[in-house]
Structure formats: C-alpha cells, structure tokens
C-alpha cells in the first residue's frame, strides 16, 4: 500500500494507486493501444482499468463502458479520445471524483480557434471540481520508480534513475527516449502539453520534493506561472540542479518599445534573466540539455575551477585548454608532491605538466595511476580524459576501479559514435562519455557555475 498524501500534493499524480485508461484499445497501432500496453509491459503495480464501451476486454483486462461504472476511487484517468469528445469525458471524471486526468488527446489550441474553444469548455468543467488535469496535447507521465509509463508511443524497458524531466513536448516521453535511455537513467518524465491546468512550475515544485529525483531537466516554450517559477526554481536549486532548454528564443515579442529600456531588453533577455536569477542552468540545444543532464545526474559537482586534462594527443589537450579558459575554468596547478609521483608514472620523454600528454603509448594503468594520484591534489577539482576510440574497451576495467575522492570525471572519446557498445559500458559505470573534449569541458564549466552560484553547495553538502 502506498502512502496517502494530502489532496493538494501532486504525489499521487506520480504514484497513483490505480489508473483508468479511457479509450484503451485492442487495435495494434492505435494510441489507446500503446498507452495501455505501456502500462502492462512496464509492470505497473497498481490497479489498472480499461474504459471502452465497444469491447468486453482490452488486452486481457476487463473493460468498463463508462468511468462511472468502476467501483473504485480513481487516482488517475488517462484520456485518449478525439479532442471534441474530451469535455464530456472530463465532466464525467469530475463527477466521479477522479483526482488526476491525463489528457493525451491532441487537436486543441495548438491547431487554432476551434481547439481553443474546446479548451475553454474543459477549463469550465475543471473550475468547479477537485479534479486536476495534465495536458492536453501531452504524452502523459513516466515514473520508473512506480513502474509507470503512460506514453503514447511504445517505450522499451527503462532503468530506474535520478533524472526528472519536465517537457512541454511529448517527444521527450517517447521518440527521444529510446536512444537516450541507452546511456541515461530516468526517474520521472512529465510531459505537460498545453498546460491548461497543471503547469511547468507545479511539476517542478513537486519534483523538488521527490527523493527519487536528484536532477531536473526542463524543455519549455513558455512559463505559465510567471514570477512564481523564479521563486520555486530558486528554492529547488538549493537542493537539486535544474537544467532548462527554452524553445522559441528568437520569437519576436509583441512588446512595443515606448521607452529606452523596452527598446533594449527583448524577450530572450527576459528569459535569460529569469534563469540566471533562479540559478537554472540554461541549455543551448536539446543535445546540450541531455549532455548536461547526464553529467549532473551521474557525477559530483567540481568544487573549484582547477581542471586536469589527460590526453593521448597534444592537439586535443591544446583545444580543450582553450575551452577551459574561455568558459571560466582553468588548468589545475599540480603540487610538487603530485609532480614527483607523476614523474614515476609517465614515460621519461614526456614532461610532467597539465594537460598530461601520455602520447600514443598511453596505457590504461598509466591513466588510472595519474588520476588516482591527482585526485588527492587540492588544486584538481575535476578530470577530463581523452581516449582513443578503438582502444576504449581496454580502459573499462581500470576506469571502474578509480579512486576519484568525490571529484567528477568526464570522458571524451573522439569519434565515439563508432564504438557505442564500449561507450555504453563506460556510461553504465557512471562516467558520461562525450565525443569532443571541448564539450566535456563546457559541461564541467556549467557544473562549476552551479556549484558557485546556487545555494546547493552550502545547503546540500
């Protein structure tokens, strides 16, 4: 039995004791089929109900003609019916006292005036009821810690993880997930669609309290809650990093420039201010968002700006050093004790300096010894190692045994796309692998920014 939370909490939205799927289907390929299938194959532990007036069973589970016929107090009802039918269905859910409706139908304000009118009808229905709604135009929620997948597309097996994603777009709970779940572990993915009722900030506020979630990533096209977002995000970032990708950054605002200030500060400047003010780490692209999410969820934060780079190539050491200084980090200055130790490890024809260039003779044992030695050096706060793609497999064992003293390590494997099975093994050890070292350094600079600017380091450590 799951703990019952106060009515005003969204806990039950993420940990429902039962789910009814309105529009559950037996027809392979239909969205109502996919959603129901996902709940079954991911082994959802709560009670599962199908609502479909046309059939007796859906995928082997007894079907009800109407949500009102179910003799149970319903925590979550997922709706997959045509948009124009949703207001009627939602009214029924409200009468039934359903706690949360997940409206996965599409064809609302995103398509124009007709859809907008349907949304207004839904808002009216919800207004006088205790029922809350996610969506419409969303792909439901995933909570791997509750074996729950409500996605519109069939989702393969997911490992349990500490990353929470809040996304305005459904693709984050299906299309993108297959690939990213190879190297990342998700806890919660909440798609929020048109945010007619429950918005991005409500989700964020809840995830801030969920102990299974340690890092939160958000894909946002707007922020419905306005100033409240800043207050909530600032509070959450005291305990958990938040990474946000804002879509529509180049959209021209409707503001007319009457004053000097208005002519200078644009829409994008406002969002930059919002994120800075609330200590949210801003991602530059969807790839950047996942690159950041992975590192924050798997590795500790660097507590200082000093970076040690270990490379088998001088050139990559040089370019990653450039990125290091461009992004506000610096190369660590090794202590004389560290230098003495290193001179025992590295070949005599190589000078001991940072970046440590072990040349093409670099061996896994050398790399491990350099790291274990320098992890004890106070000026080293983070590591980047650059590995030769075709030799990746040789390093897996040694990397799994490193003593990093709580310092982050990111790996760069140029052309890593061609050795993905080996990359996945390193990722499973908890070390994010990027292609170019400049990306790894960029990620560390953001992690360091967060360490310096949020209250996280003061409160959570």
């Amino acid at each position: 039995m799951l703990p019952v939370q106060p009515d005003n909490s969204l806990k039950l939205l993420f940990y429902p004791r039962n789910i009814a799927v309105i529009g559950a289907s037996n027809t392979v390929g239909k969205l109502g089929y996919n959603v129901f299938k996902n709940l079954i194959i991911h082994n959802y532990q709560g009670r599962l109900y199908a609502v479909n007036p046309g059939v007796e069973y859906v995928q082997g589970i007894k079907a009800y003609k109407d949500i009102g016929d179910i003799d149970d107090e319903i925590d979550t009802a997922i709706i997959i019916v045509p948009a124009k039918s949703t207001p009627g269905v939602i009214k029924k859910c409200c009468r039934k006292g359903v706690k949360f409706v997940i409206n996965e139908a599409a064809g609302f304000s995103e398509i124009g005036q007709e859809g907008f009118a349907i949304e207004q009808e839904i808002v009216q229905a919800l207004r006088n009821s205790s029922t809350r709604m996610v969506g419409p135009n969303c792909s439901g929620l995933i909570n791997t810690h509750h074996n729950m997948v409500q996605s519109l597309g069939i989702v393969g097996l997911l490992r349990k993880g500490n990353l929470g994603v809040v996304a305005q777009a459904g693709v984050y709970a299906a299309g993108l997930l297959w690939g990213f779940s190879q190297t990342m572990e998700f806890g919660v993915i909440a798609t929020i669609g048109n945010k007619l009722d429950i918005n991005e900030t409500d989700m964020l506020e809840y995830l801030g309290t969920d102990d299974n979630i340690r890092v939160i990533s958000m894909y946002l096209e707007d922020i419905k809650a306005g100033r409240r977002f800043i207050d909530v995000a600032k509070e959450v970032t005291c305990h958990k990093p938040i990474i946000a990708l804002k879509g529509g950054r180049t959209t021209v605002g409707l503001r007319t420039a009457a004053s000097h200030t208005a002519s200078i500060a644009g829409n994008n400047d406002i969002y930059n201010a919002v994120f800075r003010q609330s200590r949210v780490i801003q991602a530059e692209s969807y790839r950047d968002m996942f690159n950041l999410s992975k590192a924050f969820s798997k590795q500790p934060l660097p507590k200082g700006p000093g970076l040690l780079i270990i490379s088998y190539t001088g050139a990559m050491g040089v370019t990653s050093t450039d990125t290091c200084y461009e992004k506000g980090l610096r190369l660590a200055e090794l202590s004389s004790a560290s230098i003495k130790c290193l001179s025992q490890i590295i070949p005599p024809y190589v000078t001991v300096k940072n970046p440590v260039d072990l040349t093409f003779d670099q061996t896994p044992a050398q790399v491990a010894e350099v790291i274990n030695t320098c992890a004890k050096d106070d000026d080293v706060s983070a590591f980047v190692i650059i590995l030769q793609a075709e030799l990746t497999d040789l390093y897996i064992e040694k990397i799994g045994e490193l003593s990093l003293c709580g310092k982050p390590l990111l790996i760069s494997i140029p052309a890593r796309d061609f050795v993905m099975p080996s990359v996945i093994k390193l990722e499973e050890l908890g070390f994010p692998v990027y292609d170019d070292p400049e990306t790894a350094v960029h990620i560390l600079s953001k992690m360091h920014w967060f360490y310096e600017h949020s209250l996280y380091s003061k409160i959570s450590q």
Binding site: R227, L254, A258, S259, H260, T261, A262, I270, A273, V274
Partner: protein
C-alpha cells in the same frame, strides 16, 4: 484620467513629464536634480538665481521623447544673460520646428557635476511582470548592449549581481585613475525602484537615464515614466 502623486492629471497610457517623473522618484527615496517650471524668460532667470549656477534648461513636454536630439536641452548656463538667451532660443526653436507639440513650459534645474553615467529602467513582461534593467549609460547600453536584467521583486543579491555582471563593471570600480563609483547606492536604488514598481502596477515603463554616480552618492539627471490607466498609490 489618472491622478499622479504631485496632483496633476494625466491621460491614460501617457508619459509623465520630467517634473512629475522626478517627483515620483524623489518620493521613492532617490536623489534627483529637481526641475522647476518657468513660463517666461524672467521666471527662468529668477529660478536660476535661487538655485545657483550652472543650470540646465529643458523643455517640459510629454510628447518629446528624445529631448537632446530635438535641441530641447541646453546645459552649462552660467549667468542670467545666458539663461534668458537660452530660454528665448528654445521657445522660438520649438515654435518653428514642433508647432504641433504640446509644451508645458521650460524647466530650470541645477547642473549636476558629471559622474559615471548609468541607466536604470523597468519594463513589464506579460508573463513575468516588472523587469528591472541596469546598464552603463550612453553607447555602453545602446550600442554594446551591456546591461543586466532581473525580474522584480529584487533581493539584495539580485541587485548586487546586476552590477557585477556588466562587462563594463570595471568602469564603476574606477578605471584609469578615476575614483570608484558608489555601487552601494546603485544597489539601494535598484531595490527602491523594484519596490516602487511592485507597489504601483500602473507604472508600465520607466527610464532613469542618465543617473550620475559619484564616489559618494548619485543623482537622477533625467527620468521618464510611462503610465497605464490604473491609479497610482505611491
């Protein structure tokens, strides 16, 4: 019609003139060079004599936005003859070049000594509400876009970050032998402006431009406030 703090009436969605705008800022706790309205050249001279020289003459009109571009600001007037001459020149220039524009008169104010020039502004965002802007004056903010922005209400740390994150922050610290500017007073003003706009939803936009910052203290030299048609409560 909206009644403004100094009692004059203003059309909805209109700019307050400089005198009204500065009244509002003064009530919010900022230091301003206070302008006094003159309706004749001899009134201008009388005001100048009581203020002491040097003085500045500016046209007072809700319709003229870029006063200095329009030749409506005359600075560094050091004697009665200069004031009289400037007053009459400005009036004939206005009659000739801007016959349609509403003129409330010409204001006389003390000429503030030059300090580091900064700008403090506010706009209202549809989603987030009032956003406070801070930048270094002149080309810094206009051409180089060197400004910082935060959503009100501001906390002390926000105000401090707004100052420190400017690319030209070194200019405030005393560049090339100049004395350091009083960044504490800027912080204080940013917080006061934040409070002012939080308390007054009717202030739609605000420019305090320029502000002269000195080693000790600061003064708002020019200011413009755009109102919505809801009443002020300051």
């Amino acid at each position: 019609m909206t009644r403004t703090p100094n009692g004059s009436c203003q059309k909805p969605g209109k700019f307050l003139n400089e005198i009204e705008s500065k009244q509002l800022l003064k009530q919010a706790g900022l230091t301003v060079t206070e302008p006094f309205l003159a309706n004749s050249d001899s009134e201008a001279v009388a005001i100048a004599c009581s203020l002491g020289y040097p003085v500045v003459l500016k046209v007072v009109s809700p319709d003229i936005i870029h006063k200095s571009d329009a030749g409506c600001v005359i600075t560094r007037l050091t004697d009665p003859e200069g004031v009289r001459h400037a007053y009459n020149n400005m009036m004939s220039n206005l009659r000739q070049n801007y016959p349609e524009v509403a003129i409330d008169g010409i204001s006389v104010q003390s000429q503030a000594p030059r300090g580091v020039e900064v700008i403090i502004g506010m706009i209202r965002d549809i989603q987030f509400g009032p956003a406070i802007m801070f930048g270094l004056g002149g080309v810094w903010v206009e051409l180089l876009k060197d400004f910082s922005l935060r959503i009100a209400p501001l906390y002390e740390e926000d105000a401090s970050e707004m100052i420190h994150e400017l690319k030209g922050f070194k200019l405030l610290q005393g560049y090339r032998g100049q004395p350091a500017a009083d960044t504490e007073i800027i912080e204080d003003w940013l917080l006061k402006v934040s409070e002012l706009v939080m308390l007054n939803p009717s202030i739609k936009e605000l420019d305090i431009n320029p502000v002269f910052v000195y080693p000790n203290g600061a003064v708002a030299v020019d200011a413009r406030v755009l109102l919505e048609d809801t009443p002020l409560i300051a």
